[in-house]
Symmetry: D2
Subunit: 269 residues, 4 copies
Amino acid sequence: MCRWAAYLGDEVFLEDIVTAPCHSLIAQSHHALEAKTPTNGDGFGVAWYGARPEPGLYRDILPAWSDPNLKSLCRQIRSRLFLAHVRASTGGATSRANCHPFAFGRWSFMHNGQIGGFEKIRRRLEASIADDLYDLMEGTTDSELLFLMMLQEGLDEDPQGAAERATARAVLAAQEAGIQSAIRLTAAFSDGEALHAIRYATDAFAPTLYTAQVCGAGRCLVSEPFDREGPNWQPIPPASFVTMTRERVTIRPFQPGTQPAAERELVAS
Amino acid sequence: MCRWAAYLGDEVFLEDIVTAPCHSLIAQSHHALEAKTPTNGDGFGVAWYGARPEPGLYRDILPAWSDPNLKSLCRQIRSRLFLAHVRASTGGATSRANCHPFAFGRWSFMHNGQIGGFEKIRRRLEASIADDLYDLMEGTTDSELLFLMMLQEGLDEDPQGAAERATARAVLAAQEAGIQSAIRLTAAFSDGEALHAIRYATDAFAPTLYTAQVCGAGRCLVSEPFDREGPNWQPIPPASFVTMTRERVTIRPFQPGTQPAAERELVAS
Amino acid sequence: MCRWAAYLGDEVFLEDIVTAPCHSLIAQSHHALEAKTPTNGDGFGVAWYGARPEPGLYRDILPAWSDPNLKSLCRQIRSRLFLAHVRASTGGATSRANCHPFAFGRWSFMHNGQIGGFEKIRRRLEASIADDLYDLMEGTTDSELLFLMMLQEGLDEDPQGAAERATARAVLAAQEAGIQSAIRLTAAFSDGEALHAIRYATDAFAPTLYTAQVCGAGRCLVSEPFDREGPNWQPIPPASFVTMTRERVTIRPFQPGTQPAAERELVAS
Amino acid sequence: MCRWAAYLGDEVFLEDIVTAPCHSLIAQSHHALEAKTPTNGDGFGVAWYGARPEPGLYRDILPAWSDPNLKSLCRQIRSRLFLAHVRASTGGATSRANCHPFAFGRWSFMHNGQIGGFEKIRRRLEASIADDLYDLMEGTTDSELLFLMMLQEGLDEDPQGAAERATARAVLAAQEAGIQSAIRLTAAFSDGEALHAIRYATDAFAPTLYTAQVCGAGRCLVSEPFDREGPNWQPIPPASFVTMTRERVTIRPFQPGTQPAAERELVAS
């Protein structure tokens, strides 16, 4: 189980969300030890949007808590939109190419969860990737592959549809391969304008996803609340597709293999 | 709290003690998460004795559990005497120079615990180091400094006396600086022939130290047992100085600032 | 252009060939600066055979000259058969998974040169790999892929034939893709018993390959001589397949796409 | 010999100076191979001033040319004042703590050159550092020590005087120790407002230092020109202390052990 946090709102220093001593992603990662949850020491990454259409990307294979570069960068860089991830490998190698977020063009993507039985369908799914996207593949994770499938399915034109079609491809491949393990995912991705997130599983155990207003005029999506007493974290229901802009947060049903349903407005920031 | 294991006996593959999936130092390090003890993800190191009088040394700043090099080396290298350490930083930087074991000439040294209030007496202690040893200092840990003080106090001629005098220097410096925090240490060190260990604290909370016969004709000293059901782990009492050779294990009182007392034989291997 | 050295003979310390201050692979790598040849600072690796049928493997992405672990390991480890490689990336990422040697089961493999236009045929070649080997692929280099193709072509039963057939597959794929760039390679590989090497190119510029007796009862194959005055380095002609055992060195024509020709004995060690 | 570049002027992306394919610090570092000068592959660092009084700091031990994080950061971050450094170790360990720039509070510092015979006077110089600065020392380089001595000599109030007094301390210590080797240095440092540089040696071989207007309304100080045809690089004479602000560049004689002389204006930007 990895952990991640994504932010959209007024410009804040990354450290407010990522590395602050209390109530940040890293602090949570440490604190989590007490809570009997696994350590997230198998690499980390940050993608942030600033002066360019495409995000900046900083990833390394050290535990996030011991990297002075991360601390300094997060203390220095301000952004209105960023994704941060700490990794707990579920088996794959610890390499920079396997660290989240992944980025391509304007898009960034990060993920918690896994495609059950991935090793049995990895090759089939990779073979289904278009040539130009295949060449972008640097690592060996199910997460990167899911991102590439989403790009292929038209992330630019239809983020939710692309995510549903990509997920449906994975679900179908798993079914055809007779895999019993579920697909479970909580993912966040952005084109530098809107921030999208998915909470989904093919069984009853979708990884958690929460949102809250933070740092004044901003909003976070997180895989787990940073704290119990702080912001008023609202859980996102399973099988949801979240889209956050500066103006609003919408939550729609996430239905791989079906057409998107009517949208439902959750909160206005 | 770091964790370590030291082995002396018939040649075994390092992996039997360091990286095996069950009942090894790394396995313990993982399992320890369940036991509410901290993760040891701030670097690791192995010093082993083989074809040369001085030990081989492999240290890195990754978590030990994710380093394929460590796994391959431990699977390949056999040794009759080695020290292995996984680090949980108590504040110092994560750098190779701060990873245990430390080595100089024939000697290797590793440590769990800390000199309370070290930052207030670091400079005083460093100033007390002889010139030729001062030049060997690569990192900023209390552990490396304690090792250098032990070398200065005559580790070659009188291992226990040198360890007691070095510890006494640290105790005295802490007293003179009015430091309330205790000095607590469980250390192991070797010259390639005998394996020595200390369990000591200036208060009632000396870090634990255990020994057991393992892998047939060998014996381990460990900061914590690898498992509950496996070997018959014997705790070493506080204020002890252990010396293991192929023939015997002796435990003497460890009394910094006093003369070594009569020895007491524990077990014959 | 990478550089490599392989050794077979009486047990020697790796440092005699890999890291010694003069006349070693690393020393050459430094010295090469004067000779206007590129730096090999994009990672390194060593595979050595010892107590187990499969080799030990140590690879990292630092420049070899600044890694104290490599120095200590090479000083400590003795082997009768090993491969060592320093990498100068021709474009691929600097990651451990892209560092040579590659290892699978008993086999190790390293390579200097490149498949011209590889990016245009990478996918086609990857698609031709058998499922079980495909899962072994960790990096993105032409070298690892060539190794997997050789395994698929039956390296265990017929090393030269497998190497020829794998090379022929790459040559054919390049022809079919209309690639003008040549395939050039100097590779070494071993199953822990014999040491094999290839010198080959589809044009007139096969990377160099030399052999010499070294360290008394041993013999090296190298991509370039370590020195001008030292051992009596014999160049291996282009389009050659070399097989070294303790008893003899044989050089046969290397003819991808054709049948192996009569062998020709070069030297008896 | 390390290489470095410092920039002051209108905000530019770091990549324009640090990582651009042509005419940048990294490009020069590659190109330098042709020019028979050593590779700078022993780590790198960037300190940049942005939204806070203190600089951001990113340092790592990889060769700069192979670090995708550096490339992304330099592509994303804009700054009006920054220091960038690629390191060629003259013997010290390759560790992050030994990589330039060094930073403390508002100050950043980087250095090319060396204190001849430093190992013989290192301890004496370290002993002369005030307690609070001593605790900041993380590495083992002459460069970091020189920076700490400058801080102790009053960098905040009198940058040139502090630099001269610190240099004089090193010169005196070398004299008293009977060291024949010269002290040679080209250093740059900043408090986030002005950019200072020194070119100095106790013999006739002060490392080079150049300045030029670049990127429109900006100016660089560099240890070597990036190119021959590009900006109109002006050499700074030996024994000079340069101070750049947005308004002007002044060059004064740099005279360790004497009083600062009358200033001489070079150019108005």
